[in-house]
Amino acid sequence: MQKRNFKILDQVDVQVGQGEILAIIGPNGAGKSSLLSMLANEQSAEGEILFKGKKFERWNGRELAHYKAKFSQEFNADIGLSVSEIVLMGRYPYFDSKPKAKDFEVVENTMKLTDIFSLKNRTYNSLSGGEKQRVHLARVLSQLQNDFSEKLIFLDEPLNNLDVKHQRRILELIREFVQQGNSAVLVLHDLSLAAEFADKMLLLKKGKVVAQGETRKIFRPEFISAAFDFPCHIFKNPYNSHPLVVFGERVSE
């Protein structure tokens, strides 16, 4: 299996393989977003970031956009376009001035998957926070809809503002994407969801790695408590046997 290597200042050394979801977790200010931003080539980092064995600078920008996409945590609140026009931006790397039939097809499809198809003609500015979030997710997902393999998606807190149903929906879409031979790197706040969906975890605290590796090895009370400075306990969810984290001291009745 081909691996992609990331190295930042020798302190963080991450690898994401094909078919894997890596979740970056940690308390506020741990540097999760910065790490993601460096990995996605937004900020320059000392050291080397290789994607498919090639440095980002050596890629052609438009070609790279076929393989790599990023969902940012902060998005512009005021964009005077319709929902479908914004989702269509995800197809910009694929056409010059006129979108092709395939582009419209992908846009329609991802809008349905992210449950915003009924909003397609609404203006973006009239949407709620969670709806806007889904519009950008649809845009990012439609960007990587192609026949290429070994694609990489970065998502910075993709579940913000989303209700329970849509949180799971989005994570399932990401899992599907990854199962087609791609990779995903996510920053997540909901630890139980992270544990359920991520294959690997990177636990960050104040810019340093507390622990990283396969989820079942990392998702343990000692690591989580140390990272978050808060006592915690991990149970097995009786319904689906996924790990479930609960924070706080045990209080006797």
Binding site: A65, K70, S72, G80, S84, E85, L88, Y92, S97, Q143
Partner: protein
């Protein structure tokens, strides 16, 4: 889902054509020839019609002026739209952020300093030098204002507009000083530099304008996708494969080139770059894929109408064209303020 600009552009050109014809026919001077078409026909094939003043007014005064109005209106509207995309703000226009004043100042300096030297140059080079200086003034101010007011995601509108006010004040003061210092006739006209006029239209100027505009549009008109994506934020645009820095550089250089040339030849005609994109946004949303090409046609229509109006409303005198564009533009300015009050 995806509007096509083509049909609107064709409609715009047809409107423009008839407006142009109308504008050629009306004016202080009344053509004496019995048939306008006959006069033009005779003029072109070089036959002596017995009345050469008709042909002269048509070919050397009215037609160049109509053409210049079309070219400049188009250039100013497209410059405004492109700048608004780059600044991510509907108030970014050449006149409001001081680019026009910067260009005026440098054009005035060129006229004063080149007082003697310029006289010796052939017409074409003379005009070219002045427009080149205006271009330098425009690019300096634009770079300055952009650096001061813009960060990654958003433009600080207050800084942008106040920087424009400061630059306009400074450049205006120096230009005014030069105007009263010199007895150079080309510069003596303060109204020209503050409100603009298309009265000085010649074929040489039109040729330079056409070259500048043609070159700029080659790169600017198809920037719709890039400017749309930049509304997301520049980093997100880069993730979509848009070469953001390159696009911004092209916009700065090419809009400065167009605005500089317009200012050098017709003074400071304000608000065209504000009015046209605003109206287009009302109809098509902020989709630059539509706004950029349509601005090119709509700007021509606006400025040609304004110029025709300005030279007929107080005939035989002429009203400065900037009076009319400001009359239309100021309410648009207020409308933008009200509409974007929260997000500016």
């Amino acid at each position: 889902m995806h509007n096509k600009p083509g049909i609107y552009i064709i409609g715009g050109f047809i409107t423009l054509f008839f407006l142009g014809l109308l504008s050629l026919l009306i004016g202080v001077y009344q053509f004496e020839s019995e048939s306008f078409i006959g006069m033009v026909k005779n003029g072109i094939i070089g036959e002596d019609t017995g009345d050469n003043s008709d042909w002269y007014v048509f070919s050397q005064i009215r037609l160049p002026r109509v053409v210049m109005a079309m070219l400049m209106g188009s250039a100013l509207a497209v410059s405004g739209a492109a700048m608004q995309g780059m600044f991510k703000n509907p108030l970014a226009t050449p006149s409001l952020i001081g680019v026009t004043s910067g260009a005026s100042l440098f054009a005035a300096i060129a006229i004063v300093l080149g007082n003697y030297m310029l006289q010796l140059l052939p017409d074409f080079l003379h005009e070219l030098l002045i427009s080149l200086m205006a271009f330098i003034g425009a690019i300096l101010t634009m770079t300055f204002v952009y650096r001061m007011s813009t960060t990654q995601r958003k433009t600080n509108v207050v800084v942008m507009l106040l920087a424009g006010v400061a630059i306009s004040a400074m450049a205006g003061a120096i230009t005014g000083f030069l105007i009263y210092l010199t007895d150079e006739e080309e510069l003596r006209n303060l109204t020209f530099w503050t409100l603009g006029s298309l009265g000085g239209a010649t074929w040489v100027k039109n040729l330079i304008l056409a070259l500048v505009i043609g070159f700029s549009y080659l790169f600017l008109i198809n920037k719709g996708k890039a400017l749309n994506a930049m509304m997301l934020g520049e980093q997100d645009a880069a993730h979509l494969g848009i070469p953001v820095e390159k696009v911004k550089k092209q916009i700065v250089v090419l809009t400065a080139l167009m605005v500089g040339t317009c200012v050098a030849f017709a003074g400071a005609i304000g608000f065209v770059g504000l009015i046209i994109p605003y109206i287009l946004r009302l109809i098509f949303g902020s989709n630059y894929y539509m706004i950029l090409p349509l601005s090119a046609v709509a700007g021509s229509i606006l400025l040609l109408s304004a110029d025709t109006f300005s030279r007929t409303i107080v005939a035989p005198s002429e009203m400065p064209i900037g009076v009319i564009t400001a009359f239309l533009g100021a309410p648009v300015f207020v409308a933008i303020l009200i509409r974007y009050k929260k997000s500016l």
